[in-house]
């Protein structure tokens, strides 16, 4: 039960992009198509999970004064592995992601989970936390990517959905569309979280 809680909080209630508002850069930059958004989501999930495990394993042997450099080295190593794998097996997507793949090293959400969670918790819990956060990241990227590609290009994952006559709204594949969309999605998630908290409160009061 507790493990499920650690895993599931990243999905909606503490969604990294739409609630914590960390790592907005990839959410803006690589979500113009579902394929790049998914690849980026998977990469970040891989990096954040591995890094949480590594940090959790070494947390007792590291002098707190040098913990950040250690985190960065760990993250950079994992990102290099991920980018080499992508380059080898998915060269086209690797090209599409471009500089943003290397930028994963400095994504706030990865460092934040290492510092806030993995440095204080056991390996299993850290793994679940990282994986949950990564899944939340994928969910957010998928929502943004699907809306942007559908409205801005009339397709999903490259398959034509709305037909050839659909007048594509260019704004959705351009940066302003991403900014506006994420702003309104954040507002929507805020609404959901608020409603959920209210319900939780009512339930707790009923119990006590």
């Amino acid at each position: 039960m507790q493990f499920w809680k650690i895993f599931s909080k990243g999905l909606i209630l503490e969604n990294p992009i739409l609630v914590l508002a960390l790592s907005l850069c990839p959410a803006l930059a690589v979500t113009s198509s579902v394929a790049t958004a998914l690849t980026m989501g998977a990469t970040v999930t891989f990096v954040i999970t591995c890094n949480n495990v590594v940090v959790s394993i070494v947390r007792k042997w590291i002098n707190p004064k040098v913990r950040v450099p250690v985190y960065i080295i760990s993250i950079a190593t994992i990102v290099t592995i991920a980018s080499l794998v992508l380059q080898a097996f998915l060269p086209l997507l690797y090209k599409d992601l471009g500089i943003y793949l290397e930028l994963v090293v400095v994504f706030a959400i990865i460092l934040a989970r290492a510092e806030v969670f993995a440095a204080k918790n056991s390996v299993v819990r850290s793994f679940l936390d990282g994986f949950g956060m990564g899944c939340g990241f994928i969910i957010a990227m998928l929502i943004i990517g699907v809306i942007r590609e559908l409205l801005g290009n009339g397709s999903i994952l490259g398959f034509d959905i709305l037909g050839a006559n659909y007048p594509a709204a260019l704004i959705m594949v351009l940066p302003p569309g991403a900014f506006i969309l994420i702003g309104y999605l954040v507002a929507l998630f805020r609404l959901i979280v608020k409603k959920w908290e209210k319900r939780q409160k009512v339930r707790e009061e009923a119990l006590s």
Binding site: P167, A169, L170, I171, P176, G177, I180, Y184, A187
Partner: protein, 333 residues
Amino acid sequence: MSEQSIHQEDRQTKLLVSSSPHILSNDSTRKIMWTVIIALVPAIVFAIYYFGLPAFQTLAIGGISAVVFEVIVQKIRRKPITVSDGSALLCGLLLAMCLPPQVPVYLPIVGSFLAIVVAKHAMGGLGQNIFNPAHIGRAALMVSWPVAMTSWTKMQSVVDTVTTATPLNILKMQGYEALIDTFGSQTEMYKALFFGLRNGSIGETSAFLLLIGGVFLIYKRYIDWVAPVCMIATVGILTWLFGGSNGIGSGDPLFHMMAGGLIIGAFFMITDYVTTPITRKGKIIFAVGAGTITVIIRLIGGYPEGVCYSILLMNCVTPLIDRFIQPGQYGRK
């Protein structure tokens, strides 16, 4: 404004306790909005007469879809339905007036959706929106469908002096001499701009008829004259100074003051109660800023016309202006 309307409706039934000032006036949101719509009527009628059926279609679709979206959103939000106050209709009409007459049917519909749902109700409804809804609609359409928004097909009009590009477009692409050539002479050009015998968006053709509407609103004291005058004067002075090709002071201020969406922007957009500063000093700052940005976009920027963007940019800083231009308390030196 909305508070006043509450005053109106509740005066008979409830004891209303509110903060000062306790001024009773007969102006309600409904009255003001419908008066503004009446002020737009001359320009709308002329545009339909001049551009024909396409303009009527665009205006009708814009207005009707705005009202429909308003009803739907207010139903969803479980708020009282207030379409009869005319604010949604006005918003839809202003949006349609910012569009070229011959646009695909979906443009005014999507524009109204963006204006009413995204720009107005998502921010909290009438009185809460940061940006001018009609201009948000137009800006988003401009980015989304740039080709449809700038296709000035030759109009089947009753007057035969219509060119295929807007005057500002000709100025941007071919220069001032080419602009004069299209109209014949300079006086002919001024005449065409003033009376509206030229191509352009539905609402930006006739400076004369828009001025009539604007002066009517000023006479009714619904808008403050300083804002439009300041904005148009700023555009005039700056284009006169920097607009010409032969050094400072060789520009054509009259052309720039009458061309494009400046008149409708100055009289109907920057006098919006919600998205512009409250105090007169603030209004002057807003108007001068909007005029300056318009000139910068027209003379240096990539787009031929900048009124829409200048007003949206100034909308961003309206709260800032309001904060710095607070009137002093009574009795304070």
